[in-house]
Symmetry: C2
Subunit: 396 residues, 2 copies
Amino acid sequence: MSSPADPGKTAFSSGEYAERLHNVRKAMHQRGVDTLVLTDPSNIYYLSGYEAWSFYVPQYLVVRQSDLIWFGREMDRFGASIVTWLRDDQLLAYPDDYVQNDGKHPAQLLAQQLKDRGWDRGPLGLELGNYYLTVNAFQLIECALPNATLVDCSLLVNWIRLVKSEAELRYMREAARIVEGAMRVAVEGVRAGVRQSSLAGDIYQALVGGTQEFGGQYASSPPFMPSGDRVATPHLSWTDAPYLPSTQTNFELVAARHRYHVPLSRSVFLGAPSKELKSLESAAIDGVAAALEAVRPGARAGDVEAAWQKAARRHGVRKNARCGYSIGIAYPPTFGEQTASLRPGDMTELAPGMTFHLMPGLWQEGSSIVITEPFVVTDSGAELLCRFDRRLFVND
Amino acid sequence: MSSPADPGKTAFSSGEYAERLHNVRKAMHQRGVDTLVLTDPSNIYYLSGYEAWSFYVPQYLVVRQSDLIWFGREMDRFGASIVTWLRDDQLLAYPDDYVQNDGKHPAQLLAQQLKDRGWDRGPLGLELGNYYLTVNAFQLIECALPNATLVDCSLLVNWIRLVKSEAELRYMREAARIVEGAMRVAVEGVRAGVRQSSLAGDIYQALVGGTQEFGGQYASSPPFMPSGDRVATPHLSWTDAPYLPSTQTNFELVAARHRYHVPLSRSVFLGAPSKELKSLESAAIDGVAAALEAVRPGARAGDVEAAWQKAARRHGVRKNARCGYSIGIAYPPTFGEQTASLRPGDMTELAPGMTFHLMPGLWQEGSSIVITEPFVVTDSGAELLCRFDRRLFVND
């Protein structure tokens, strides 16, 4: 009942799903958790292959040492039967009048399912830090299961996702090809007079339309592409204004293949960049090189940040935010894995197969630059996922 | 301290923001809530104009009868100063080491801010049903504010958003132009042999690139465009497979202007549709017409569904899910307002300015069809937001 059958339809082999599940069950055992209820769509996908934009309604993957059950909305069950490796009797559903209907919540039915199976006793793990388990749902579960001890298992599965297999890396390399193509569209297309939203449309086409060989998916974030006075802040959207001469645009793009995300960022200046900006460019380039140099198995995540910081400081630059984070499977609203960060004090030991976005975006009064590199930790150092000139781009 | 200054930079007039705030404060007073802490990005945008993809980290809008404070991430504060009408002293921020860092959570700093101001006593409203208030954050707030009585204010602001102003309707009409254009791209582009992901890229370009007059934004959902055996389920993504002869594709598209969303759905068949499908088409068309006929001020949301159901039944068709929902401002992961639904028992009284997506998607063993209409309730009935042939499209 617990092992993946040979799938054919899923993105990974049955052996790979079995290993993932084995690792999660081992971690559950170590934490003393009998039943784990997952709500993070990335973790549900990682274990079951369930891939759909249905996480805006409650859905759960229940993991036990010898059971695995998907519990979602009735209209999504057929989708689950198409894309997951689970058998039909592992796919349970709740009726549609439990969707956004006052007084009825799917968590009540989940609790009943757990009770019916006798799984409501002992330690029950929930992802209390995840977007897709609301406080309301949690309170209903807590109230309905007085015999369970609720345990926070946030990020338990995320940490297991940290090291990627060859099959996972293959998808990330494909996503890297797509994001390179989209970045070419961005760098070529940003010209004085072009409407920002029109270029955004072209970038989306490249991110989703993909390459000749394969297409992209919706990513867990839109392209970030602030321009003009907006480059001083990272998360604002494009507008309908035209790009103006003597201004800068920061492109932070991200492409997805089989939900594996690869981001890439570059800045483009229209006209002649200032001395300050050229100096920031040097700092960014030296910092990235130094950070990549520090990547090797056994090094700590924090060491990579320290190497970056040291190189950047020689240029008089400091950055107060982390300069990178683990990447892989993602669903909105974020593409970080929310585990290891390249920041002071992060003691995560780097190991082959880990993937990071080295993202030392620099925002300094009046100036900013983004030059980033997604990379894989290898046996001996860092393998770049993208090949894209590491510099400030300048258009006439 | 509480009234919007003249904005210039925001999407609405200062008078409109003042009225929104007034209505929310009235509702707070009626509920006996002294302090309301909002986390739903749509509600934060509605009141402050804050528009950024930063909701993947905690951010809060604190509303009191005579105060209004935005509390977000340090690197987003400058963005808030650009796009909101709030003064600088209303924009508070937490440092970056509180982002996804074990043991540090912005909710702790929020609680401290409330305490420092003496706002930690009495009834404190929180959106317990929203994605962007995690259980962890809630527990930290609960623990840090023993003198507060926490009250669930989920959807309090959403309900106030139900009736749209003329300024809001203007943006929705613009979004309607964009989604029509994208649907034309879809209906024209779906041809046997075309790769699904390539068409998805073209559709994105139309949704974001917009029209000659104005561009689009990222929407709160991707285009849904299942094809072949996937049309039996609504939320799966496109693939890299080509469209095949004698198969159907269901396009559910959504466009956004200033975060106001307008969705539109149509089905396209490649080849000669079966008699069953033609019959389903008739049911859908008659059902939509009957539902629109039932729309008028004073009617109940449930009445519209009943009219739809009655017409569809004459064709032997039943639908178990709701056939529509309120639309307006949205952020991922959903574009419904989560308030009024066109479904049995929904007693919401229709009033001029309400906007709905009439979405009677039909999934019936082997067959499905989506023909939908976004509409505005007017003084005398329903005004269609889109002009798009209401039929099953058929391509060679």
